[in-house]
Symmetry: C2
Subunit: 251 residues, 2 copies
DNA sequence: CGCCAGGTTGAATGATTTCAAATACCGTGG
DNA sequence: CCACGGTATTTGAAATCATTCAACCTGGCG
């Protein structure tokens, strides 16, 4: 299910855990900044192990004892909760430089699964807590990251509060776009690493509604699909206005 | 709009800012714990000013320069964002022992307003940051509180992801119930400090739908209203099952 | 080459939204 | 103490949109 490496499978990228976020106070032109110094990354690397997960593999389960948090180096994860009727609600998609493993009273709040193959740093909770308590600056950086995650979650809630399908899809596309641009990925096309079902479970719509909404915004000329998992924004302003409005449109 | 006091308007309660949360690792039987020691509260009090807000008064505005965060001592606040068409989405309700004032690049992410008259500690950001960077334990406590807020936001998103009105209302009632029980308020009746419109903007439904849903759960004997703002849970198990299910019910 | 998970499309149903009107409530001033 | 005015809330009826159910398609992989 997961292999443990102590070597250097990431090549030059392997300088230890990496965390980025948009700052709380400081200006950053809307882009996430690397929060950790090389020294901090080294410190974290000393308590971390590098772990891998195949696509679809679980990182941890809701309710299980939380013994570590994870920092994604490569790949994409989702966190989710399962309802009694076995439907799922996706809480977040996690990308490189993100942290996951939120717990309450020592137990994971969500389940997590690899949406794309993952390489991650596993940070045991006890060691991490010791490190944080001894290094206020590092701790401050983690605090910034958690604030970032809180803003993301609120943005997600904002999206979910929309009652119409098109604004939801439009907002979702914009969030992905921002996220990829922030990570410096070519702006040519947005890559959707998750399935349509994942998207449906994230934005609170049925699977058919997701398909139809994508079809509609493509037909309206706002975006263009290149295959099922790549889409290009054609009319940014059109998407903006769709994302920013509640009432039905005239045209 | 707000009065500033340097005296002791809270009487014996005025021992300085107060923050509680359910711990990340430690067991607490589901209840939030006071995170701050008396010494920490004293330290925070030294940089804090006590401010009051009348019902309906704004604490700060989305997009405005964020110079302070607030810690509620008495009262209830809401944070929200306004859409272009002037409808609102409520991000959270804040109660005593909560923090508010989330920012990004130095600007508030949400607006905030007093739902009930508020007495709060105003903590200037610069001074707070200095304090945190010099006191890892205090900083750790703030980190725990932000993790708590993140869990709450995810729970909110989970609620918003439900597609049916009744599960939403049921979950909302349960969240309020838990929140009030946690703060040690008599379990006899739940008090709803916010308007129906606030509730609608929080759970992502129209105002009429909120009224109707309340009417339905009362008619079904799950709860009983004592006036518009007090409700008593009659059938906890019934609410649970309503809150925990997606598909339509047979009976 | 066939299978299967993932994805798309169609049609009918039904819940929620919307629009509208009526009612209850609260604080205030007389 | 009561009348008044405005806000908050409730209820009704029609229209709309997303869900549901179901069939079909598609692409990747063994």
């Amino acid at each position: 299910m997961s292999d443990i490496h102590s070597n250097n499978p990431l090549g030059t990228r392997d300088r230890g855990p990496s965390i980025s976020a948009i700052p709380f106070r400081e200006k950053s032109d809307g882009r996430p900044l690397q929060l950790l110094s090389d020294r901090e990354r080294g410190q974290l690397a000393q308590i971390a192990t590098l772990v891998r997960f195949r696509r679809g593999a679980p990182l941890f389960h809701e309710g299980a004892p939380a013994d570590a948090i994870y920092n994604i180096a490569v790949g994409v994860a989702k966190t989710f909760r399962t309802l009694p009727d076995s439907t799922k609600r996706v809480a977040a998609f996690l990308f490189p430089d993100d942290l996951l493993g939120l717990a309450e009273e020592g137990r994971y709040v969500n389940s997590a699964e690899a949406v794309r193959p993952i390489t991650a740093y596993r940070l045991p909770l006890a060691a991490l807590e010791n490190l944080l308590r001894s290094d206020p600056t590092l701790e401050f950086h983690v605090l910034c990251k958690v604030c970032h995650a809180l803003r993301e979650s609120q943005r997600h809630a904002f999206l979910l509060g929309r009652r119409r399908a098109l604004p939801k899809i439009a907002m979702f596309v914009q969030m992905l776009n921002r996220s990829e641009q922030a990570r410096g990925i070519g702006a040519a096309a947005i890559y959707l690493p998750m399935t349509r079902t994942d998207i449906a479970d994230y934005i609170g719509m049925s699977l058919p509604a997701v398909c139809r909404s994508f079809a509609v915004i493509e037909r309206r000329g706002l975006v263009r699909f290149r295959g099922k998992r790549h889409l290009q924004i054609i009319d940014q302003a059109g998407l903006d206005s769709l994302a920013g409005q509640n009432p039905p449109r005239g045209a």
